[in-house]
């Protein structure tokens, strides 16, 4: 049975309320550590921290519009082998979805981690966040969540949400163990907390928050956010397709790619332990470049950029959760996320699959049925 309760918020201090809740979680006997984003003491940057001491939660800041990395990669590191203890991970919905994909790819294990999903208010791109935090210093996160939750919107001065977040139709976690709700709660003296799995129910029962009913306005509030996001997303699909629908346009789209592969490194679901593009296969013989160049008289250097991106699309687009870290990581501001989400939408639809929707559904390329896709076989005359 789902438990729905509340976390009291005193003097509109949402972060303080969350800190108290995380302390309660960390004080549970079964929980040895909590993975939670914190402001680092040495620099005004928010990064995931693994905390075992309840007194070390002062800097927690899961609501900051900072998204330096998709923490699914961290949870994968922490769970790839038995750890011998249970931990809690506080994640954004796209991080939970990426974690699910990694579990299915056998690169993470769900047994020893309890997932807490907080309603995601969105994030800024890295360089925008740095500007924002410099200007607003210690109040930056409070200003951000107050604006988003009061419908003033996420745009503050000239800084706005990243395109990935604007196009994200999952501001609310679907399959966390414990969900913390912010959207659609009209009174500002509490947050909603809800179990979404049996594990979550077990832990929430131990914390025993005061029970409430899910606020009536919540579903509408979430639906309104999602509707806006989907409109942005669909418009993005149309524009991106228009900008890449032949090879010449695609070459232009990726013209400033320098093969740094940052997008691959930042991608939470790019799963190969050794990427073929980093192997000797692509360490071409010097004379090979001359051969290529002399075939058409000119080649762009470095080579293999379009090849790299289309191959990556073939390899991981069915697992793409649209977190936008690829765009975040691009040194030359190529809209990578837009391209990958546009293609991923098609490939996931083709296999009736949605990345991160379920921890059980098999990844499309890992299974097959005897009777399927007859239309791709043969040469129709």
């Amino acid at each position: 049975m789902t438990i729905t309760g509340k976390i009291d918020v005193k003097e509109q201090d949402i972060l303080g309320a969350l800190r108290k809740f995380f302390e309660d979680v960390l004080n549970l006997e079964d929980i040895k550590a909590i993975l939670v984003p914190q402001h680092l003491p040495m620099k005004n940057m928010v990064m995931p921290t693994l905390v075992t001491d309840p007194n070390q939660l002062n800097g927690i800041d899961p609501l900051a519009p900072a998204f330096p990395m998709n923490a699914a990669k961290i949870v994968s590191r922490l769970t790839r082998k038995p750890m011998g203890a249970k931990i809690v991970a506080v994640l954004r919905p796209c991080e939970i979805r990426a974690f699910f994909e990694l579990v299915k790819l056998k690169q993470a294990r769900p047994d020893e981690v309890v997932l807490i999903g907080i309603d995601c208010l969105g994030t800024y791109q890295n360089k925008d966040y740095f500007r924002f935090v410099e200007k607003n210093e210690n109040d930056s996160t409070v200003k951000f969540y107050q604006n988003v939750l009061s419908a003033k919107g996420a745009k503050i001065d000239d800084v706005d949400l990243s395109p990935a977040c604007k196009a994200c139709e999952y501001p609310v976690a679907l399959n966390a163990d414990i969900l913390i709700g912010l959207y659609g709660i009209t009174e500002n003296d509490y947050l909603m907390v809800q179990s979404q799995t049996a594990t979550g129910e077990n832990f929430l029962a131990q914390i025993n928050p005061p029970k409430i009913d899910e606020p009536a306005s919540r579903q509408d509030a979430v639906a309104a956010v999602v509707e806006k996001r989907i409109a942005y997303r669909d418009d993005m699909f149309v524009k991106t397709h228009e900008a890449t629908d032949n090879l010449e346009k695609m070459t232009a789209y990726l013209a400033s790619c320098v093969n740094c592969y940052n997008c691959r490194v930042a991608c939470p679901v790019c799963y190969c332990k050794e990427c073929v593009f980093s192997t000797d296969v692509f360490n071409h013989d010097p004379s090979q470049y001359l051969k290529w160049a002399s075939r058409k008289g000119i080649i762009k250097m470095p080579t293999d950029t379009v090849f790299y991106h289309i191959t990556r699309l073939a390899h991981m687009s069915t697992a793409c959760v649209g977190c936008g870290q690829c765009s975040n990581a691009c040194p030359n501001d190529i809209p990578v996320m837009e391209l990958f989400r546009t293609i991923a939408q098609r490939t996931q639809e083709a296999f009736d699959y949605e990345a991160g929707r379920s921890i059980e559904e098999d990844p499309p390329m890992s299974v097959f049925r005897e009777e399927e896709f007859a239309e791709v076989v043969g040469i129709d005359k």
């Binding site: 890449t244 629908d245 070459t251 080649i299 090849f307 289309i310 191959t311 791709v376 076989v377």
Partner: protein, 140 residues
């Protein structure tokens, strides 16, 4: 465009389609010389990137051909290949590669005649379609 001769890269499995191509040869069947066969042990090992590379290098068509369902030497490699072809047929047309340029067929070891027919038909279709965009542009 009458003198356009398409280039087809064909990934053929060792056990069925390669044997069929061999049979076509030993039976002295003729088929167009536009096809370059690449023998692989199983169509299940054709990574999508091989197909992508072939197209970006200017292939006008790519054929992946293996054993009939149920006949795979490795039990189910051809079913895995079918999923990958389905995937590529979703991706490549987004970048302007006509879906007809990528084909998957099942050709058994004794189907020499059918293999020759498939190549003839494919060449005709690709001639009608014209050269691939990658042939003409600076891409790599």
């Amino acid at each position: 465009m009458d003198d356009f001769e398409p280039t087809i890269i064909a990934f053929v499995c060792n056990w069925c389609t390669y044997t069929a191509a061999d049979l076509a040869g030993t039976s002295r069947l003729t088929y167009p010389k536009n096809v370059r066969l690449i023998r692989v042990m199983c169509t299940g090992m054709v990574d999508p990137q091989y197909v992508i590379k072939a197209f970006l290098e200017g292939a006008d068509g790519v054929l992946v051909s293996g054993c009939h369902p149920g006949d795979c030497h490795y039990i189910n490699g051809n079913f895995k290949a079918r999923r990958r072809i389905k995937l590529l047929k979703e991706i490549l047309p987004q970048f302007g590669f006509e879906p007809q340029r990528l084909r998957l067929t099942w050709v058994g070891a004794s189907d020499g005649i059918q293999f020759a027919e498939i190549i003839r038909e494919l060449v005709n279709q690709l001639k009608a379609l014209g050269p691939s965009q990658a042939k003409l542009k600076m891409v790599i």
